[in-house]
């Protein structure tokens, strides 16, 4: 099964090139992708923000402020979000979901680790 999937995987970078909070931007032809390390693995997002086409993955990896029912400030989900480099809209790195607009979703790509190498499935 692994062998059958292998052709759709494209080498992205070395594991050592990606750190928590410091994604690696990799270019495949004309496609720019951000490779992120999460606490339990890796994820990849197209480096184009669905809001206004900004460089999504070049923004800060961060957490967010919990919506509350009273005046309190709770910082949560540290490291799970990327804030687009241009306009600061927040996206879940794992799912590509946009926190402030349900209609927007950043394109995601599965990432596979093979030893010290990371591969992405770019799809069709």
């Amino acid at each position: 099964m692994e062998a059958a999937l292998a052709p759709s995987r494209t080498y992205a970078c070395k594991v050592a090139e990606v750190a928590t909070g410091q994604p690696k931007i990799v270019t495949f032809g004309r496609i720019s992708v951000g490779i992120f390390q999460l606490h339990d693995g890796y994820a990849a997002l197209l480096n184009i923000c669905p809001h206004r086409a900004g460089q999504l993955c070049e923004g800060p990896v961060c957490g967010t402020t919990r919506q509350t029912d009273k005046t309190e400030f709770v910082y949560e989900r540290a490291g799970e979000l990327v804030r687009c480099a241009w306009h600061g809209w927040e996206f879940e790195i794992r799912s590509g979901k946009c926190l402030v607009d349900d209609r927007l979703k950043a394109r995601t790509f599965p990432v596979h680790r093979d030893g010290e190498d990371l591969y992405v499935e770019l799809g069709r």
């Binding site: 206004r52 086409a53 900004g54 070049e58 800060p60 241009w86 600061g88």
Partner: protein, 361 residues
Amino acid sequence: MFIVDTDVHNYWSSAEVLLPYLEPYWRDFMVRGEKPGPAGSFPHGHRPWLHPEGFSRHDIKPQTEEDNYLIMKEKHLDLYDIDVAILTADEPLEASTLANYHYANALVKAYNDYMIDWWLPKDRRFKGSIIISPTDPHGAAAEIRRLGGHKDIVQVLASHGSQRPYGDPFYHPIFEACAEVGLPFAIHFGGQGGVNHNAVASGPTAYYWETHALLSQPAMTHVVSMISNGVFEKYPDLYFVVIECGVSWVPSLMWRLDANFKALRKETPWLKMLPSEYCRRNIRFSTQPLEQPQNVKHLWETLEHMDGQNTLLFASDYPHWDFDAPTNLHIPPAWRDKVMGLNALEVYKRIEAPAATAKVA
């Protein structure tokens, strides 16, 4: 397409780039005097609001002073094939917040010389703005006369934060100088701290995003004041350019002004036209940050009421967090040629028309 970007911020990494351009007294003042932050911060009276994320796009990370240009060239001028970029500085606009107007004058003068010396020669696409501190209108007028003849200077620029509405006769020496040298007077969002304490009506707001959403407030006051005080009767050829203050508020304000004027024009007998007619003739608005309704048709219909096809000027606000890319500007397609570039030629007479347009004209 011919693109004139009317709001491109030429950043510096440190305000110490001004030191060689300051006269000795003011150089000593800046080096040894109190600053609002660490070495390299620009002297200004700060705002009550702190931006929670920082002003610049996160993909713009200059390491050297030269990078401020090189990154702009790569990520903006070349990427979008911008034909003309009007430099609007950044921190120097904040000189208007200082109570010491002598210091403010010295700082903007140093900036203007630095901009002419360091930025303008770098790229044939650059045009400059003379930054003035409006707290001393006569000092500002002298600066306009000092540099107004430079071929690559296209406007005079002040912060939209000010101590009085700009139509106040206190400021008329500035417009007299603009008219004399043939340059538009422009205001840009900013200068909301220090002596310009009333930049938000009813008092300071608590959060940066609400303050930013209200950036139209002082602009409304200035637009009304410039019209009512007869600035455009005194200087009929003067263009007043409102940069980064939003645009969709303009039609409703004009409706109100015209109605009130018809009833009470006896207060301002020097006006010969309706307020909206002065606005249409003498005032131009930069697009960014263009409002974003759910249904863009609602915006387009509003903009038709201000003759947006002829009164809007494209602006990106590079490299700020609320940047509008030229490729993504939601204006009616039929307006694009005018708004993206041709309208600017009417206002900024020193910008050369593209060859194709020159032939038509």
